[in-house]
Symmetry: C2
């Protein structure tokens, strides 16, 4: 191992400092350099001795290479992701950069610290929609063909998995979420609950649950995680409070 | 809402206090009564004013009903899960109890606080195996027929999802994990990495990665989360350090 340099990849959780682990906070405090997508780095205090390097939200691989270069030069670098760094975030980009980078990078001290990923924070606000078998997918077709996305949605829904969608929509990908709802409406019951969870745990949080047939792409934005129930998912209405949405722990043979 | 009683369902994370959120810790500190499976409750300090109620790991629904009864009687109850309370844990049992319980329970103040679930902690130690589309399944056939488990394994593996298995094995369920590996070996490449992640983040942590054809049920115990790669998952060998296992962010059309 390189005697000095180190790269730690952390997740800040969904956004509230109350949902970030002490481990991740400490890793950030011990770093010489904090790097990451600007809004995520902004969630952390920058200490007097620290250098702050903010990127835009593209070019994940280049961001990983820059961080590895700095660690190889002896810096203690903290790469900051939102949520959990291993779920559609920077940890995979760092591993990919190491695999295809100089041999020296394989000798670096690399650590990944888990965090609360968006679907868990949204699920907690709604009840327990992920209480039974579920899957997590990125709906972005920037890095995979759209036909792969459709095949996975169909396989997951058909097999009885609850589906959590990351990256549901963006300016460059305006129609994909609506198309996903259309496809799923051909497989799942009309009343299947769909949860739109925006900015869970932050001041601008917004959680809404609608039946699948009423779900529309424009109900989500880039900060939304969408959870689509399975045929077994239940909605428990409550007087004066939002419903509890949950997926029972048991399953019948017919799912 | 009931003016006094409250039920908060929290997750302690995988076990290390460093991986528990401040939010969950505060919720526990503010409760009158701490309830849950004994080893999880043991992760928390019991304050002088608090009552501690430890259960064994069965009868989740009965545990939920007792907690709701106490909240309805005016107590501030904290139900303690390991990991994230919404992933194969107590939040779904609480929702189920409310759905089928007295109407009064629907007026209670219920809050679920997310946590770091086991697969995220294991994935972080291994690299980024959950960096692409993945699913999470309980391998227990206590609450669902085994044929449903097999159908979901086949659907997930065939569609290119990485698979995280909770509850992989127990004294009463000794053969299921081995059977799952056999089934998956008929679908996935022989070299597909399988990660056995035991007690991630705790002093007795043990992380091991083997090719699918060498994976055996007896490599897991009740404290293990098993992650099975997709055909795209990569193993990056490193001199003098465990390999990095990651699932690339992109997918080809042929998955």
């Amino acid at each position: 191992m390189n005697a000095q340099g180190k790269l730690t990849v952390i997740g800040t959780g969904p956004g509230s400092p109350e949902q970030m682990t002490p481990e991740a906070l400490r890793a950030a405090a011990e770093a010489d350099e904090l790097m990451g997508y600007g809004p995520y780095v902004d969630r952390l205090p920058v200490l007097p001795h620290q250098k702050r390097v903010a990127f835009d939200n593209r070019e994940e691989l280049e961001r990983a290479r820059i961080a590895l270069d700095r660690a190889a030069a002896g810096a203690r670098v903290c790469m900051v992701s939102g949520g959990d760094p291993g779920v559609f975030a920077m940890a995979a980009a760092v591993c990919e950069a190491i695999e295809h980078g100089p041999a020296e990078w394989r000798t670096l001290d690399i650590a990944v610290m888990p965090g609360v990923t968006a679907m868990l924070a949204v699920a907690a606000r709604a009840g327990a929609p992920l209480g039974h078998d579920f899957c997590a997918m990125s709906l972005s077709d920037n890095l995979k063909p759209w036909e792969v996305v459709e095949a996975r949605l169909a396989a997951a829904a058909g097999a009885g998995f609850v589906i959590a969608l990351y990256n549901p929509i963006s300016k460059a990908r305006p129609w994909q979420l609506g198309r996903a709802f259309e496809l799923l409406a051909g497989i799942l019951p009309a009343g299947t609950p769909v949860i739109f969870g925006r900015a869970a745990g932050r001041p601008d949080e917004r959680i809404a649950t609608v039946p699948l047939t009423e779900a529309r792409g424009e109900m989500a934005d880039m900060a939304t995680c969408v959870i689509i129930g399975s045929p077994a998912t239940r909605v428990v209405d409550r007087p004066g409070q939002p419903p509890l949405v949950y997926s029972p722990r048991f399953a019948e043979a017919a799912t």
